[in-house]
């Protein structure tokens, strides 16, 4: 239970948080601006990872692959918005859930049809493998530090986009009053397509970056999607700031819980039981956190619709 272990685990938590933020920011924008519940967001995560793996394998360049993955996810997002989602804005949430759930099945089986059912191979490029030595003589993988860096850059870029640009102004306007900006002559359907594609592209980027660390396989997006929903509920639906804070909170709490709960229970239980109980409770921890936050702030930490 040394300080170096704690520092390393905090870094791990922040890294998980930044990747969750990439997923959650798109989800929260789409929900906030368009009022749409999009279960298929995890599919864009998968599309990004698969496209990156395929392009990296054929060109040999991870960066080209990454750009292709992000572009593929954004294009997939734009197409899905034009073909399917557009018809759902005025429908009840249940219809949206059903339709986007159908999209998950179509994307999953389509991917299996194209790439087969075995997991694909995607590894970080050689110049990003290896590790750095942190103070306290602990080694930390370079790639994870890069992920944290990318997450921070994206967060800043989103902040600038939303608060300083015309597009951001329209997005903010869309969040606070959808009918009004339509009445003011903003091309609302184009705005929706752009926001949806932006969210999908960010999800694709997250899938590609994390895919190199984990495995690229069909259905990889759904577990992350659940966490991303927890993040946006905690952070307040529609709020980018809330998504960032919620993602970091979930990442750090989840990581520290997994490490320290079993150690905590070991103080008064036999080791194998303590590991089991600790692991089970750690799995619940973020949902407990969500329940506590919602008990005090029913609309999340930063609701866009106050």
């Amino acid at each position: 239970m040394s300080v170096t272990l704690l520092i390393e685990q905090l870094l791990n938590g922040v890294q998980l948080g930044t990747m969750l933020f990439l997923m959650a920011s798109g989800l929260t924008l789409v929900f906030g601006v368009m009022g749409l519940i999009n279960l298929a967001h995890g599919s864009f995560y998968m599309v990004g990872a698969y496209a990156t793996a395929a392009v990296t394998a054929s060109t040999g360049s991870f960066l080209t692959g990454l750009a292709a993955g992000m572009a593929a996810a954004a294009v997939a997002g734009a197409l899905v918005e034009l073909i399917v989602i557009r018809r759902l804005y005025h429908r009840p949430h249940l219809d949206q859930v059903l339709a986007t759930f159908a999209l998950i099945l179509i994307f999953s089986e389509g991917t299996r049809w194209i790439f087969g059912s075995s997991p694909l191979r995607l590894s970080p490029p050689s110049w990003l493998t290896g590790f750095v030595t942190l103070p306290g003589n602990t080694r930390y993988p370079i790639y994870r530090l890069v992920l944290i860096g990318v997450g921070i850059v994206i967060a800043i870029a989103l902040y600038v986009l939303i608060s300083r640009t015309r597009l951001g102004m329209r997005i903010r306007a869309g969040e606070s009053d959808r009918e009004m900006i339509g009445a003011l002559g903003v091309n609302i359907s184009k705005l929706y397509t752009v926001v949806f594609a932006l969210g999908a592209g960010l999800a694709g980027l997250a899938g590609a970056l994390v895919g190199a660390l984990q495995s690229v396989q069909v259905g990889m997006g759904e577990p992350v999607l659940i966490l991303a929903f927890v993040v946006i509920v905690i952070g307040g639906i529609g709020s980018i700031k809330g998504a960032l804070l919620g993602a970091l909170l979930v990442g750090v709490v989840d990581t520290l819980g997994r490490v320290y709960l079993p150690i905590f229970f070991r103080a008064f239980m036999p080791p194998s039981e303590a590991s089991g109980v600790g692991a089970a409770l750690a799995a619940m921890l973020i949902y407990i956190l969500m329940a506590i936050i919602l008990a005090f702030k029913p609309k999340g930490l930063f609701s866009a619709h106050d």
Binding site: N12, S117, R121, S123, S215, S272, S275, A279, A283
Partner: protein
Amino acid sequence: MKNITRFGLGLLLSSSVMAVQADDVKIGMITTLSGGGSHLGVDVRDGFMLAIEQSGRDDIEVLIQDDANRPDLARSLANEFMQRDDVDIMTGIIWSNLAMAVVPAVTRQGTFYLSPNAGPSDLAGRMCHENYFNVAYQNDNLHGAMGAYMRKEGFERPIIMAPNYPAGTDALAGFKHLYEGEVVDELYTQMGQTDYAAEIAQIRASDADSLFFFLPGGMGISFMKQWESSGVDIPIFGAAFSFDEILIKAVGSAAIGARNTSLWAYDLDNETNHQFVDSFREAYSRTPTLYAAQGFDTANLILSALDSVHPDDQDAFREALRAADFDSVRGEFRFGPNHHPIQDIYVREVVEGEDGQPTNRLIGVAVEDIQDVYYEQCQM
């Protein structure tokens, strides 16, 4: 009117066809061909069908259905096979939880079931059945054998890790049973977990001299890739479930050096195995996994019993299966009293193959003639 005549003629024809084929054998295969981990089911199916084709028999009909890794679907497919198709033998299930949902119902109704993969402890022990045969392994076998091997190799402070679900806790229990020593720590991960940074940091902070883990499917891929970049430098061990030929190709160089226990290896030196591996590569253009080998053996066991007797004569067919009079790709193969194998478990090491891709190489025997510990609870 014309249609009715045609329909009547059709009925007449089909009934006469059925009369001709009364001695045919119907085999129902329920396996996982879609959803997570479907490459296991595909290999079982391909290995099984290869043996059926090689037998040249045309009186065997194999019906194949996909359970999509869902227990409820597997159960209803089994009912269809038994009631509508009236199959004589069933096989194919990959996952233990699906086997628990299907097998007892099948054997209770007098249909034979041969498991090409799943081997839950209940079916080896208190819920064993005279019509149930496991041609693969009992779930503990590979983990236990690795425990024995690591002890033999002189590792004294292993740290062990598995997902927190029944097969995971069984795996660690099986390991400890034959390791016969203290482990440094037991880590339980979440089912389907993809990020192992927290666990890797804990392993680094412990003073373990080796790591044993059971993380089937995509979990193993994620873990090994993250393990490679972590800079932790202790040898890793596992069961073949995390190191089949398809998974290690997805893992890449991170798998090199890992040792794993398996009941079979493609470079196992016996004539049956050489022929199997060559013909499988020719038919499907890939190297078979242990699942393909298990499917191939299952089909050959059935064929060996069918050579002497039809499954309608249940007692004689059961005896013929129990004799296990077939050439196994594993070399020696025989059944214990609970119809589970008594077999050698081998150790393989992941090395870089000639094409630069990782592949398994046989390096020795972990335990000879391993038998599960549940046979004493089996009353049949």
